[in-house]
Amino acid sequence: MDATLTPVAGDAVEDIEIHLLLEALYRRYHYDFRNYAGVSIKRRLRQARLQLGFASFSALQDALLRDATVVPRLLDYLTVQVSEMFRDPSYFRAIREKIVPHLRTYPSLKVWIAGCSSGEELHSMAILFQEEGLFDRTLFYATDINPGALENAANGVYALDRIKTFTQNHQKSGGKTSLSDYYTAAYGRAAFDKTLRSRVVFSDHSLVTDAVFAECQFISCRNVMIYFDRALQNRAVGLFRDSLTRRGFLGLGSKETLRFSEHASSFTDFVREEKIYQRRDG
């Protein structure tokens, strides 16, 4: 038979390969990136393929299916993001000025940092809660899907050359203490005080596949859902709504919005310009 087949028009080969790769990652290891925002996941996957040295996504998929050691390496490309302590100082200032007064009315508090990555925001929040006198009555949940990132978060050690930015951000956020009170510097690294993590539960939790685990007064999930497609965002926001007490607060990244979410009506703008929302009654 010498008839040549003509491929069907439509998906490019690379799109098919990426789809199959993500399916393989899910079916073999239960990491579910299938509903991540296409354009960003594609960029990250291309980078991963090049850096890991595979000629094609099919070759990467083949290795992934048979060799579990490829998983954490791939995961680092797909999930790890570098954040800063007190990134967007005005967000933390708004928490201090607008959210903390409400939180003070509760005898005990639960705060969830969803997608905590290597812990910069968690440590920022812990410091802020210490400064505001709420730390001792608060239990923090810090969750992520990347075990390596969670380990870093639980260690609280950051490169010393990042401290200058962290310190400036902390001051701009209305910090009442000196950031240097909370870390010791040695060998080019700053190790943050373990007291800051003494009221933190670190946990492997996926906004894509896992369920509600606590009732919180405040959830902060910043620049995590920008990597989700619309359907996945809806799932995550629904999960947040169900994890919040009545009138609990949800803080997002400065360019994230609930405007396009099917759960928009469950929330009201609380600090509009900082993307802090409040769950409606009922």
């Binding site: 925002a37 296409g38 354009v39 960003s40 960029r43 990250r44 993001q81 570098v82 954040s83 967007d88 005005s90 620049n223 859902m225 920008i226 990597y227 619309r230 965002q233 990244g253 400065s254 360019k255 994230e256 919005t257 405007r259 396009f260």
Partner: protein
């Protein structure tokens, strides 16, 4: 085969960007039909460049939120400290992935994603700047069949960026800022 009408314009600029864009954006008439996506390198301090242009332009100028649908004739500036990308469904997609060539937002990242979505219906423009961001992106625009324009390095406030773009993209046409402005206005005039 007919030439597809232009569906989007992407612009990248760095040093001298505000002055250059002050010539282009206020020249766009009300009702201009083509959306523009713009990356300007600014320090990651949360300053909103769109505000600089909002009152001076007949078209809507804004920093988009993630997942915002791209509207005809609106000008979208990449928010400070975010990459700006175009998603397949023609909505805005933002990311905090690592800087590319030390830049976030990155011109390359915007141009490459827009080239994939709009293909031949895209015009890419590299203006003044003092680094090489945008050179790869402009080539991606041309390779997808889009049109590549570059501000004449001899006229530009900073020549490195347009020169790098021309070196990387053979198809690029070098034009004066006034010629680029007139060309973009005409693209949107029936």
């Amino acid at each position: 085969m007919s030439i597809p009408a232009v569906q989007a314009i992407v612009i990248g600029a760095s040093a001298g960007a505000i002055q250059a864009l002050s010539r282009i954006l206020p020249a766009l008439p009300a009702g201009y039909p083509i959306p523009m996506l713009v990356v300007v390198h600014v320090p990651p301090d949360g300053s909103d460049i769109a505000l600089l242009f909002e009152g001076r332009c007949a078209v809507t100028v804004r920093e988009p939120d993630d997942k915002e649908p791209i509207q005809p004739g609106w000008v979208y500036f990449a928010p400070s400290d975010y990459h700006l990308l175009v998603a397949e469904d023609r909505t805005v997609s933002l990311s905090v992935d690592e800087p590319v060539l030390y830049s976030r937002p990155s011109i390359d990242v915007l141009f490459e994603s827009a080239a994939e979505v709009f293909g031949p219906a895209l015009v890419g423009v590299i203006l003044t700047g003092a680094n090489e961001d945008g050179a790869r992106g402009l080539r991606a625009v041309a390779e997808a069949g889009g049109e590549a324009l570059v501000e004449d390095p001899g006229d530009a406030f900073a020549s490195a960026m347009p020169a790098a773009a021309i070196a990387s993209c053979r198809e690029a046409r070098s034009m004066s800022l006034d010629a680029i402005t007139a060309y973009l206005v005409k693209l949107g005039t029936p």
